[in-house]
C-alpha cells in the first residue's frame, strides 16, 4: 500500500499543502515587518547619497527616520519637469512611487520622484537634490540614488544597489570605495549639454582630472556598462526638471514635507 501510486500522490499533495501553508503563513506574518525593513533601507540609501555610511551606521532606526523627516522633502515630476501631484484622482508622493514598476513603462509616461535634502527646519535652504536611478545590470536590476549639489552640476555622492550581481564583481557597486569615486564629478559638459559620468573599463587608473570619468571595477565591465547607461538615461529624463530649477529659484517650487 505504501508504494502504490495513489499513496504516493496523496502523500505528495499533503506534503505540498502543509509546506505551502507554512510558507504563506510566515509570509503573511512577516510581511509588514519586512515592508518596514525595506522602507528603512530605502531611506538609508537615499540618505547615503549625501551622508557617509559611517554616520548612517551609527544611527538607530528611529534616528534615521527622524533625520529623514527633518531633512528630506520630496516631489514628483514628469519627463517635462512638470510637477505631478495626482494621477487619475489619487494623490501621489515620492515615497509611493515604485521606481521599479515605473521602469517598465515608456519614459514619457513614467513618474520621476525627486528628493530634496535641506537644512533642518528650513526647507528653502537646499543642500542637494537626490535623484533615483534604475537600470539593468548583468543578471538583474540595479538602482541607486544620485545627489547633486545645489549647482545641479557637481555630484555630492551616489549610492548603488543591485538585485543579483555577482558577489565580488558586479556587486562591488555597493562598496563605499566605488561609490566615492563619483564624488565631485560633474554631469554637465563645457558647452552646457548633459554629459553624465562614465565608469571606465579596468581598475586602478587615476581620473581626478576628468570630471566625467571614474575608475572601473576589474572583472565587472558589463555591470559598469549598466551603471553608465542608467546614469545617462535617468539624467536625461530629469534634464527638463534640472533646467527648470536652474532657471527659477528653488523657493518657487512646491515641496511635500
Amino acid at each position: 500500500m505504501q508504494q502504490s501510486n495513489t499513496y504516493i500522490i496523496i502523500f505528495s499533495v499533503v506534503l505540498t499543502v502543509i509546506c505551502g501553508f507554512l510558507l504563506s503563513g510566515s509570509s503573511q506574518l512577516l510581511g509588514p515587518i519586512q515592508q518596514e525593513a525595506i522602507a528603512l533601507d530605502t531611506k538609508k540609501q537615499i540618505l547615503g547619497a549625501v551622508i557617509s555610511s559611517d554616520e548612517i551606521g551609527a544611527m538607530s532606526p528611529e534616528e534615521i527616520t527622524a533625520f529623514y523627516e527633518n531633512h528630506i522633502a520630496s516631489t514628483v515630476v514628469d519627463i517635462e519637469g512638470e510637477e505631478v501631484t495626482e494621477v487619475e484622482g489619487t494623490a501621489i508622493t515620492a515615497e509611493s512611487v515604485d521606481i521599479g514598476s515605473n521602469y517598465k513603462k515608456a519614459p514619457e509616461e513614467r513618474l520621476y520622484p525627486v528628493f530634496i535634502y535641506h537644512e533642518e527646519g528650513n526647507p528653502d535652504n537646499i543642500s542637494a537634490y537626490i535623484l533615483p536611478l534604475y537600470g539593468a545590470g548583468l543578471w538583474n536590476a540595479i538602482w541607486g540614488y544620485m545627489a547633486l549639489q545645489s549647482d545641479l552640476n557637481t555630484i555630492e555622492g551616489v549610492t548603488f544597489s543591485h538585485a543579483g550581481e555577482t558577489p565580488g564583481l558586479g556587486a562591488r557597486i555597493t562598496e563605499e570605495g566605488v561609490q566615492q569615486r563619483y564624488q565631485g564629478k560633474e554631469i554637465w559638459g563645457e558647452g552646457g549639454e548633459l554629459e553624465s559620468v562614465y565608469m571606465q573599463k579596468g581598475e586602478g587608473r587615476d581620473y581626478t582630472n576628468d570630471p566625467h570619468k571614474v575608475d572601473g571595477m576589474s572583472g565587472a565591465t558589463i555591470t559598469a556598462v549598466g551603471v553608465n547607461n542608467m546614469l545617462k538615461n535617468y539624467l536625461g529624463y530629469y534634464e527638463a526638471f534640472l533646467n527648470k530649477i536652474k532657471e527659477s529659484s528653488p523657493a518657487k517650487m512646491a515641496v511635500n514635507n
Binding site: 508504494q3 499513496y7 504516493i8 506534503l15 509546506c19 512577516l30 519586512q34 528603512l40 533601507d41 565580488g168
Partner: protein, 225 residues
C-alpha cells in the same frame, strides 16, 4: 510454561538523553567525522561567505537551524515517505525550511539579508544537509536525528568560523567589523600591518581550508580509504 513460543518482553531502560552513544553523535562531527574536513562536503559556502565573521556566523546559525529541523522532520516521516519520491520529499522540506530562514532574516536583519543574498538560498544545495538526511535521518529515530543534524552542523560551523577568522583578520584587518590590525600595528610601533588581498578572494579561502584540513588530519591521523 510456554516460553518457547511466546517472546519474553524485555523492558530495556530508556536510553539516557545524552548517553555515550548520543554524545558521540554530537561530538564526532566536530573532529573525527567533520563534514568539511573529513567528509569533504559543503565546501562551496565555506569558500563564499567566509570573507567576514558576521555573515559567517549568521550562515552557521541558519545551517544549524535547517539541519536540526529537517533531520527531525524527515526522521518523523521516515516510515511514511514513499521511497520512490524520497529525495523530492526531502528537498521539499529542506527548501521550505530554508525559505523560512530567508524570510525571517529579511524581516529582522535586512542588512545581513542583503549581504548574504543568494547564499542563504544555496543552503538547499549544501551537500551536508541532504547527505545527512539520506545517511542518518531516514534510518534513525527523531531525537537521535536531531542530535546528528546539530552535531554535523556544529562541525561545519566551527570550520567556517575558523576560516572566516583568518580571512577577516588577514584580508581586511578586522574582527567582526572592528579594525584590529591597525591598532595592533600602533601597539607594536609599526605604521601599519599590510593586509593580504588574496585572503578576500575564494583562492585565499581555499588555501586556509587546505591548511586546516592538513593540520586536523595530522592530529587525528586520519587516512582516506
Amino acid at each position: 510454561m510456554s516460553t518457547e513460543t511466546a517472546e519474553k518482553v524485555i523492558n530495556k531502560p530508556a536510553e539516557a538523553l545524552l548517553s555515550k552513544r548520543r554524545k558521540s553523535i554530537v561530538t564526532d562531527p566536530l573532529i573525527d567525522n567533520n563534514p568539511i574536513t573529513i567528509q569533504v562536503l559543503g565546501i562551496c559556502s565555506a569558500l563564499a561567505v567566509t570573507t567576514q565573521l558576521q555573515p559567517t556566523l549568521v550562515m552557521a546559525l541558519s545551517v544549524i537551524f535547517v539541519m536540526a529541523l529537517s533531520n527531525l522532520a524527515i526522521s518523523i516521516l521516515r516510515n511514511t515517505i514513499p521511497s520512490r519520491i524520497r529525495i523530492i520529499a526531502q528537498l521539499a522540506i529542506v527548501a521550505t525550511l530554508v525559505s523560512l530562514v530567508s524570510e525571517v532574516l529579511k524581516a529582522f536583519s535586512y542588512d545581513m539579508y542583503k549581504q548574504l543574498s543568494v547564499f542563504i538560498g544555496l543552503i538547499v544545495t549544501n551537500c551536508i544537509v541532504m547527505g545527512r538526511l539520506e545517511a542518518f535521518a531516514m534510518g534513525n529515530k527523531p531525537y537521535d536525528s536531531v542530535l546528528d543534524g546539530f552535531g554535523q552542523a556544529m562541525g561545519y560551523s566551527w570550520i567556517i568560523l575558523a576560516v572566516a577568522f583568518f580571512r577577516e583578520i588577514w584580508g581586511s584587518g578586522s574582527f567582526f567589523g572592528i579594525p584590529v590590525l591597525d591598532p595592533l600595528a600602533g601597539f607594536i610601533g609599526m605604521e601599519n600591518l599590510a593586509t593580504n588581498g588574496l585572503m578576500v578572494t575564494p583562492v585565499g579561502a581555499f588555501m586556509i581550508l587546505g591548511l586546516i584540513i592538513w593540520v586536523q588530519r595530522s592530529m587525528t591521523k586520519y587516512v582516506e580509504q
